[in-house]
Symmetry: C2
Subunit: 126 residues, 2 copies
């Protein structure tokens, strides 16, 4: 019996108390989902907003996902990306040993993202 791998892309963000904070992340999710209609594109948070990552993953598993790529939507890679996220993934791997996880670098480390931010910064003073 042939099986098709079902992949999910999870945009992992910090979370904040102010709901307005999440707006660009939701727009990002919408853009990525539109560009990748074959994928499940989800948003998950470290804290303060729902769903947190350990809340989202059981939903993905229930939907038949067996391959999860996580993109930290953080500008800098500090303790949240380098320490908290790997700990969360280690726990999830124990709970879901059949699930494949991949963690990408933080978006802020991408040269094209940095260039777009630079263009915006320069335009702010023009």
């Amino acid at each position: 019996m042939a099986t098709t791998q079902k992949r999910a892309l999870v945009l992992f963000a910090h979370g904040a108390r102010d709901p307005r904070w999440a707006e660009p992340f939701k727009r990002l999710q919408g853009i990525v989902q539109a560009q990748s209609p074959e994928l499940t594109v989800s948003l998950a948070f470290l804290e303060l907003m729902s769903p947190r990552l350990p809340e989202l993953v059981p939903e993905l598993v229930s939907a038949g996902v067996d391959d999860v790529t996580i993109v930290p939507v953080f500008l800098g890679q500090g303790g949240h990306v380098l320490r908290d996220l790997p700990l969360i993934i280690d726990e999830l791997k124990t709970t879901y040993p059949a699930l494949s996880f991949k963690i990408a670098g933080a978006v802020g480390e991408d040269p094209q993202v940095l260039n777009a931010m630079a263009t915006y910064c320069v335009s702010a003073i023009a």
Copy 2:
């Protein structure tokens, strides 16, 4: 006597305990400074890293700056951008009444930045 306005562009970021966190912000500062050699382009932090914004501004004033544009290098606009930053600016305006301040929107609200992040997210799972 003719006077020339001396402008500064301040990239305002959160700060973190891990020094590696600041790397993309320093790269961003370098890109923006290279694109705008006529400006003073500085990096300042809300907390945990130096210089904090109230530490940087006296240095800019000493250097003859009279016009400061602040770009919040944050993805989302939550309490730090919408509440903490305006409070800091209000205090600085009281201390430096001759200094002109402008606060731009957060970089994460810029459509081109969001598009660059989306392209990176899609490439992460390719």
